[in-house]
Structure formats: structure tokens, C-alpha cells
């Protein structure tokens, strides 16, 4: 059981109506992909916010991470749309 902080930015923050939350991850959540699979079962807002994973990016402890990245040791996991700075 791992305690993590989940952060949401831009359209993800608006869709979920929150910018952060603390969660205890289930044992089954070994990768980002697993985490998304678990979150979407939590309530309908998640199911809709995570409906198009191809349009999402993830960072683990402030570093961009692919969806097959392992969550072992992660403290802060952020989800957001592709960036549009500059």
C-alpha cells in the first residue's frame, strides 16, 4: 500500500473539479496504466476525464513518464494534457 499525491492540471483539473488529492494505491496499481484503470472505477468523473489516455500526459515525481512506467517509490503523480507553453 503506497500513499501518493495525485495532481491534475489544466483541462484535467477542470474535468475532475480538483487540483490534488491524497490516495492509497491498491497493490494492483504497479504502473501508470494500472493506476488509470483503478481510478476510472472510482467514480464517473474519472471515467470521463481519463476516457482518452492518448490525449493525456503523466509525470512521476516531476518527470514525464510513459504509461508503462512503474509506480514503485512514486510520491507525486501528475496528469495533464499535452503542454502548450512558449
Amino acid at each position: 500500500m503506497a500513499h501518493v499525491t495525485l495532481l491534475y492540471f489544466a483541462s484535467m483539473r477542470e474535468k475532475l473539479g480538483r487540483e490534488m488529492e491524497e490516495r492509497v494505491l491498491p497493490e494492483s496499481a504497479r504502473t501508470v496504466h494500472d493506476l488509470i484503470g483503478w481510478l476510472v472505477t472510482q467514480d464517473a468523473d474519472y471515467a470521463s476525464a481519463f476516457a482518452e489516455p492518448a490525449k493525456l500526459r503523466c509525470a512521476i515525481d516531476q518527470v514525464l513518464a510513459p504509461f508503462d512506467a512503474p509506480l514503485a517509490g512514486a510520491r507525486e503523480i501528475a496528469f495533464f494534457p499535452p503542454v502548450t507553453g512558449g
Binding site: A10, A59, P81, G85, G86
Partner: protein, 146 residues
């Protein structure tokens, strides 16, 4: 010299270029991005992921310093609400060699657009708002440096 800043305040491009020029390299290249007033846009609001932005911009500056013979790099990105014409971003590089200064400057702005966690929300004259979508052309511009 490396200077990386994220701030709501405007910046002074001339002053930043002069600071790099004072290093004595002989060449300073720069890029300044402004808010475009397309399609009745009245404002842009820039949001970011503060802990990651600091890391991402610092990494980009380090990569440029490792790849080109630079004496100085300045990266400034604004956040918050900006209106058409406002400055958003500054990239400045100093080198003894003009090719190094110019290429590193292009590299930094191309990579900043795909690697740094900023998002823009647009406000239009009719009250509509929408998040700017990432462009494939920006991804392609960043990939040419791989």
C-alpha cells in the same frame, strides 16, 4: 552563466540581452514570444506545474550548455493572464560562435514548447474560453533536435 525564471511580471529583453552581452562572448542570440491576437482573442492565461517547471527548464538549459559552446543561457517564461501583444517567453544565448548561439536559441524554444509543463487557456471577445491544444508541428519542431 545560467538564469532560469518563471514569473508573472514582464521582463526587459534589452536588459537581458545586455547582461549576456556583458559576458564578452561576442555573440548573443534571442527569441521573444508574444501573445497573438488571433480570432478575437482578448487574453491568455498561463498555468504551470511549479515543481516540474523549475526542473524542466533547468534541464533544458543544461542540455543546451552541454551541446553547444555557450557562455550564457537565459530562459524566462511568464505565467498568469496576458493580453495580445504581451511578452510571454524569452530565450537568450551567448557564445563566441554565432551558429552555436542561434542553434541553441532555436533548440531551447522548440524544446520548451514540448517539454515544459505550461498550459494556455484562451478568452475570446464573445465570452468563450478554451484550452489551447498541442500542435503536431510543435512536436515535429522539437523532434528535429533528437
Amino acid at each position: 552563466m545560467k538564469s532560469v525564471r518563471v514569473q508573472p511580471e514582464d521582463f526587459d529583453p534589452g536588459g537581458e540581452m545586455a547582461a549576456l552581452g556583458a559576458l564578452g562572448s561576442g555573440g548573443v542570440a534571442s527569441f521573444v514570444g508574444h501573445v497573438r491576437g488571433d480570432d478575437n482573442l482578448i487574453a491568455l492565461t498561463l498555468e504551470h506545474y511549479p515543481k516540474m517547471t523549475a526542473k524542466a527548464l533547468d534541464d533544458l538549459a543544461e542540455q543546451a550548455l552541454a551541446r553547444w559552446a555557450l557562455d550564457g543561457v537565459t530562459l524566462i517564461h511568464r505565467i498568469g493572464r496576458l493580453v495580445p501583444g504581451d511578452r510571454i517567453v524569452l530565450v537568450c544565448t551567448a557564445s563566441r560562435h554565432r551558429a552555436a548561439a542561434l542553434e541553441a536559441c532555436a533548440y531551447l524554444i522548440d524544446r520548451l514548447k514540448t517539454d515544459a509543463p505550461f498550459w494556455k487557456k484562451e478568452e475570446f471577445a464573445d465570452g468563450r474560453t478554451s484550452w489551447v491544444e498541442a500542435r503536431q508541428s510543435d512536436a515535429a519542431a522539437a523532434e528535429r533536435w533528437d
